[in-house]
């Protein structure tokens, strides 16, 4: 396959940035999207040019490190797929592919396709601790959790924090990320003690950085883990209760 790649190049946060076009030839359909970038970067390095900076780590869709906008879709055209799991067979010979970093005011471009997602860390930090006994591992079935609840909590816990929800959202809202993180703890007995304080703090922190949900549903469509926007409804409901429960609290 021969591919024309329009890639976003940006020296650093203060640089304007621009698209640059590269011809990538002899691309195997079995290559992953990131491997295609690796091949191009190897060539650029040999030619004495600066390789395209992008984030990646596990390359099996479980770490959430990779993630770019491919032809206007977060993680590319295939559903339930992180960028590293996307293969070149999803494209056709002669295609022009536009690749751009996640865009949001809170996601500053560090270089080329790499953005700073530390606003997510601020939301996680705001969540604080959960009250569990430390020490040796507890007896497995000491805390009963109904199967449906465990399954739902696990669906939320599948979030890998890649940021595709923010990237796909026309409002740059981080509702799906925050809802996943809030819900997977709020649903379980281990996380229920701090349910309302966690919900309030995480949502308030989220709103310092990100936009507001208008229920387009783009985040759900872009999520490589197919996390449902039902969790956003769940978080919204918990937030109302939290504001009532936590009133007057410093």
């Amino acid at each position: 396959m021969n591919i024309t790649l329009r890639a976003w190049r940006q020296e650093g946060p203060s640089d304007e940035g621009r698209f640059e076009t590269y011809q990538v030839s002899d691309v195997s359909a079995d290559m992953s999207f990131l491997e295609m970038l690796d091949v191009l970067n190897e060539r650029l390095t040999l030619e004495g040019l600066e390789p395209i900076a992008f984030d990646s780590d596990c390359r099996e869709g479980i770490c959430g490190t990779c993630g770019v906008m491919i032809n206007g879709r977060a993680h590319g055209p295939q559903a339930a797929t992180a960028t590293c799991q996307l293969h070149m067979r999803s494209f056709r010979d002669g295609d022009t592919i536009t690749v751009e970093p996640w865009r949001a005011a809170a996601f500053e471009v560090i270089r080329d396709l790499v953005v700073d997602r530390s606003a997510f860390d601020r939301i996680i930090e705001a969540g604080g601790f959960i009250t569990v006994a430390t020490g040796s591992a507890p007896e497995a079935n000491l805390t009963p959790v109904p199967k449906e609840i465990a399954e739902t909590a696990f669906d939320a816990a599948a979030c890998i924090g890649c940021g595709a929800c923010v990237a796909a959202c026309p409002n740059s809202a981080a509702q799906l990320f925050t809802a996943s993180k809030v819900s997977h703890l709020n649903l379980l007995p281990q996380g229920s003690s701090e349910r309302y304080i966690r919900t309030e703090r995480m949502v308030d922190t989220m709103e310092q950085f990100f936009g507001s949900c208008t229920n387009h549903g783009e985040c759900e469509a872009a999520c490589p883990k197919q996390i449902s926007i039902d969790f956003i409804a769940m978080m919204n409901r918990d937030y109302v209760k939290a504001k009532l429960n936590n009133r007057g609290r410093a």
Binding site: W8, R103, A105, A106, S118, P170, Q208, F210, G211, T214
Partner: protein, 263 residues
């Protein structure tokens, strides 16, 4: 005096002539809030504003439905629409003086409208600040036409609403038709909609209203936190049926006037 042996991590770094490594700074928050009484605090949050939009949305949907059903009285002829209008002015009379109930409902509606518009405007501003545009093409996967155009359909419907009030409630020219008389609801309606351009305006405005409430009637469940699997699939159905009923009911009237079925 006992000498302090322990060092903090940053002190230890200083001794070795280094500054403590710090993680790269997160971009500055878009907004920071302080603690206030809880309803204020709640409304200051974006989730709170969406909740208020959902609640006021329900009130406005209720009004739109009642208004549409009331309008259908025009098909009964025989002055039924006029007597319905008269009945509204005397609602709960003699428990309350005449028009008091009507004014209470109007006050509630005005408050609902203002809150709905204020929340929408300030959330739009928040979203503008939070958003950075893509430089390449953007391919939306699922966002509907209705959801993408909410602010435009909302603004146009609000402007139309003022026009509609001037036309049929206040009788202000040039919006109202010639010969507008207070209380002669059916005659005013027929006179107004007999003007071709006005009839088209009413049809277009009601189609936009339908688009707006189609997304709103679904979206409010999300904003208020109702997504239980037992009724989840009915939310979309409800929004479709509700908006279709409003559009069909309202649009039928200009068509009926135009075809001579009414008036």
């Amino acid at each position: 005096m006992k000498k302090r042996l322990r060092l903090t991590v940053s002190e230890a770094f200083t001794i070795f002539g280094q500054s403590m490594p710090t993680s790269p700074a997160t971009p500055a928050p878009v907004s920071v809030s302080r603690r206030r009484p809880w309803p204020v605090e709640f409304y200051r949050s974006a989730v709170g504003k969406k909740w208020v939009m959902g609640i006021t949305g329900i009130a406005l949907l209720g009004f739109v439905l009642a208004h549409m059903i009331g309008n259908l009285k025009v098909y009964l002829g025989d002055g039924q629409l006029d007597s319905y209008a008269h009945f509204l002015r005397e609602l709960l009379y003699p428990l309350l003086p005449k028009t008091v109930t009507l004014w209470l409902m109007r006050t509630g509606l005005v408050i609902a409208f203002l809150l709905h518009i204020h929340a929408a405007a300030s959330l739009t501003l928040l979203n503008r600040r939070a958003n950075t545009a893509y430089r390449g093409p953007r391919d939306l996967a699922v966002a509907s036409y209705a959801s993408r155009t909410m602010r435009w359909s909302g603004v146009i419907v609000a402007v139309f609403l003022l026009w509609h009030l001037a036309d049929l409630t206040w009788g202000v020219t040039p919006m109202a038709a010639e010969g507008w008389t207070p209380g002669a609801v059916e005659a005013n309606l027929v006179a107004s909609l007999s003007r071709g351009g006005v009839a088209v305006l009413y049809v277009v405005a009601n189609l936009l209203l339908g688009i707006h409430i189609y997304h709103g009637a679904w979206s409010l469940f999300q904003s208020l936190g109702f997504a239980h699997p037992s009724y989840k699939r009915w939310r979309r159905w409800f929004a479709q049926a509700f908006s279709a009923a409003i559009v069909i009911g309202n649009v039928s009237i200009p068509i009926a006037v135009w075809t001579g079925m009414v008036g």
